[in-house]
């Protein structure tokens, strides 16, 4: 089974995105979802990365206008509820389709 890669993007890839990655990791853990790798990256190098879903903020959404992968835009990076609501369906769907 292929390991799913979730990319979390912010300006520098080390502060804001790190907080969102933590929230996302918490949700994945609570949902017992394994075989998923999450990583943070800055907005400049994000485009060249290998990933299956991208999580980012509304301000940086424009960077991913033309991607084929699903995109999840989060407003409250500390909200597990929002991450669950907007992202969980897409993550589960990907894992289902790539069994």
């Amino acid at each position: 089974m292929k390991r799913m890669k979730i990319m979390v993007v912010c300006g520098f890839g080390l502060g804001t995105s790190m907080v969102l990655k933590m929230t996302l990791d918490d949700v994945l853990k609570e949902e017992n979802i394994e075989n998923v790798e999450t990583f943070c990256i800055d907005s400049y190098t994000a485009a060249g990365q290998d990933y299956d879903i991208v999580f980012t903020s509304k301000e940086l959404e424009y960077l991913f206008e033309n991607i084929t992968q699903p995109k999840v835009v989060i407003q409250n990076f500390l909200s597990k509820d929002e991450v669950r609501e907007k992202g969980l369906g897409l993550i589960k769907q990907y894992l289902d389709e790539n069994k």
């Binding site: 890839g13 804001t16 790190m18 500390l78």
Partner: protein, 147 residues
């Protein structure tokens, strides 16, 4: 513990700020005075908001101001300021902001534990409320001891 990463000089409560830039600079000033970063780091924090937009306003009323390690960080550290009157960053979803946390890390890894402790604290909404209304730096430091 979250309280290991700052001391009473790195927390300032109910500050008056003229706008988002002034607020970010006041938070950065605490890092400079504590010897955690050079002045240019604070300039870069401001520039980051100007060039990339207010994405650092990552939750309602809360900004996480920072730049890159190579922009003048001297040691790992964070500061907390709360504002008497909230300011607008231009964040559609999360303005106005009354809580600004500034931090600097020396590389891409060393600050992760600190941010983890901070996120654990902030994920509890009552903690954010407590922080916004706090008037005693001592009480705030005390509350950081549980995370």
């Amino acid at each position: 513990m979250l309280s290991d990463y700052l001391n009473e000089n790195m927390i300032k409560l109910q500050v008056k700020a003229e706008g988002w830039e002034d607020a970010v600079r006041q938070g950065g000033e605490l890092l400079i005075r504590a010897g955690k970063c050079e002045k240019r780091y604070v300039d870069e924090m401001v520039k980051a908001v100007e060039t990339m937009g207010p994405y650092m306003v990552l939750a309602p009323g809360l900004a996480l101001a920072h730049a890159r390690p190579e922009d003048g960080v001297l040691a790992l550290g964070m500061s907390v300021i709360t504002l008497e009157t909230p300011v607008e960053f231009g964040s559609e979803a999360n303005d106005p902001v009354s809580l600004i946390i500034s931090f600097g890390g020396v590389d891409r890894e060393s600050h992760v534990e600190m941010l983890q402790a901070l996120a654990r604290f902030l994920m509890v909404e009552e903690n954010q409320e407590f922080l916004r209304n706090a008037t005693s730096v001592h009480d705030v430091l005390d509350s950081f001891k549980d995370y």
